[in-house]
């Protein structure tokens, strides 16, 4: 076995999920994630945790959902499993990212609605989602298999403790601040100049560990829930949204809402997102990518939104972790991230003070206070 698979398992089990002896762990192994499953099982055995492995197969889901008539009355066995679990580790990595492409969206939605309780029980565990590099994901990224493996391990096998400390400084700035302004001024693309309020909101130091309320591996971003957004933003990182290609999206905000938009490609996708519900026209997230192990776009949001020198804004639902206890933020059925490169001609201000320029933070080496 590639030693990096074992290192991945160690980071997942120890840094990310903080598994203790005696913990009841559910490990979901995707069709292509067998090898990571073996390494994770070994680590869980060493720790003395108890393991149930479930099988995360897109092809099995498709067969099941396509055969159902769309009405679900889910029983208790899956719920009982998660209600009695301490930790849930999702090892993604299928053999075909389009494995469920032809499942009717109504069926998908009905199943998702019927599984709300199961999902909530799962979110109540110390859950972490990661991916094993597969040929299918390499293909989606437009990369050779070995090249993609190196990419994934570069992103996953970080010095997380050091990154968590760096990101804590950014979190402190955002927590103390009231207004964020993002500007990108480059001759080759439309200008970004947008302001949003973050007063009263709490940033999450997403350091790929449940100890930081961070449930993705890799992670490496600091995010909060903005409101009252005004201005224009240009998103130059291409994405796949609902299975469709989207490129060069420009959003115009007034008083917190999108009032105009255009896109070089996939404008109709953006339109249908915006029309989902009232909350879909407002932002649910402002995230600042800090994982410098991720140095390219791979059409996988788990990686893309954490990329160093990027900022992402999400239309739709806000996360509870960013909100004051008991307060509900922007509500929506969707949460769609859009990403902007900030490596050139760009700065972020908090309350009028530049805290990042061209991707470099105020407290990092190479930061230039003046343009």
């Amino acid at each position: 076995m590639d030693e990096r698979v074992r290192e991945h398992a160690a980071v997942l089990v120890e840094w990310s999920a903080r598994v203790d002896p005696g913990d009841d762990v559910v490990v979901d192994v995707a069709e292509g994630a067998h090898e990571l499953g073996v390494a994770v099982a070994e680590r869980l055995g060493e720790i003395g945790a108890n393991v149930v492995t479930t099988y995360g197969s897109g092809e099995i889901s498709r067969a099941y959902l396509s055969a159902r008539d769309g009405e679900f009355d889910l029983g208790g066995h899956e719920l009982a499993l998660f209600e009695n679990a301490d930790v849930y580790l999702r090892l993604g990595g299928g053999r075909n990212t389009a494995a469920t492409a032809d499942v009717e969206s109504d069926t998908r939605q009905a199943y998702s609605n019927a599984r709300r309780e199961v999902r909530e029980a799962r979110l109540d565990t110390d859950w972490v989602s990661t991916v094993h590099p597969t040929r299918s994901l390499a293909q989606q990224a437009g990369m050779a298999y070995e090249e993609y493996q190196s990419f994934v391990y570069e992103a996953v096998l970080r010095d997380w403790e050091a990154l968590a400390e760096t990101m804590a400084e950014l979190k402190a700035i955002l927590d103390a601040g009231s207004e964020v302004r993002l500007v990108t001024d480059r001759p080759d693309r439309p200008r970004t100049d947008v302001r949003m309020s973050i007063d009263g909101r709490t940033a999450v130091n997403s350091a790929a560990s449940v100890a930081y309320d961070s449930h993705n591996l890799p992670s490496g971003e600091v995010f909060t829930a903005p409101y009252g957004t005004t201005g224009e933003v240009f998103f130059d990182v291409p994405m796949t949204i609902n299975g469709r290609r989207v490129r060069d999206v420009r959003l115009v905000f007034e008083e917190g809402e999108v009032v105009d938009f255009d896109a070089e490609q996939g404008g109709d996708v953006i339109e249908s997102v915006l029309e989902t519900d009232a909350g879909a026209r407002r932002l649910g997230e402002l995230g600042i990518g800090m994982n410098r192990g991720i140095d390219r776009v791979t059409d996988n949001i788990l990686f893309d939104e954490k990329m160093g020198d990027t900022v992402h804004l999400a239309l739709g639902r806000a996360y509870d972790a960013n909100l004051p206890e008991g307060e509900s933020g922007n509500d929506s059925a969707v949460h769609v991230d859009l990403i902007a490169d900030v490596s050139e001609g760009s700065f972020i201000e908090v309350d009028g003070e530049v805290i990042q320029r061209n991707g470099v933070l105020r407290f990092e080496e190479g930061f230039a206070a003046e343009r």
Copy 2:
């Protein structure tokens, strides 16, 4: 997909497990059984059952068990899953039948002991165990892959209703009988002549369906729990027991116990089985193979013991289904089947009357009352 995979799934779900709409089903998918998993999920979707798929991986089990220190304090999540399940379908078929070969037997035993409650909860469901034909199982059988696929489907895709009716006649004879005598007299091998009591015992019509208290697919045998065995038996079907090859075993019984034995190969394996405990020297099962779709030995007990024209006797534990309510039969930590070919020079008597000659039952075409 090979249409036979879908037919296999249909037999499993409908004839064997009798799954109803709304049933909570756990499907355990072995490393090599993905395709059958897809077909089973489709069928369960059509019926409207609820599904959790677990992953049955020998390699993951090995990694986990090898890393544990051998002490287990199993938590409740796996138990909760099975206590809330109506049906358990085990889809066997790995990629290496020796995947867990180097796990310490102490660890294996400790894990098995710690899982007693889980196992019992699983046995309380309508459980069925089957296998998907894999290259690994073909190799174990010494067969080409496509040849092995045909073999498995010939065994699984029977007219189970018709076979159940035939076996019901044999069950009626055994239920009414007091003593069974098995004789095989051929010039090329040691003579078998053994008598055992079945008075008060109930035979199981093992027709591969939970409706018949039969939990294997394929099945196709009628079995009961004999006692007071006296005489000699020669087992000419080769087997693998505890990973070791065993061939041409001869057992000598007096008053229900093995008093002498020899074997052409693997005599030490038989000796260690007999020395397990007091019950290991007595019989727990007399089974008469009735699945004529199984026409060769494949070194897989799920198939071998159901082979038409064979009889098997098991050293060790008896099954509750054969015993009067509340009565406990032969008790032992082991249940080791040994198989004899009865296709030539052989007959079975019940209370002095020949009920089978050379594998043909009294009520079947071609039966010869006289030798």
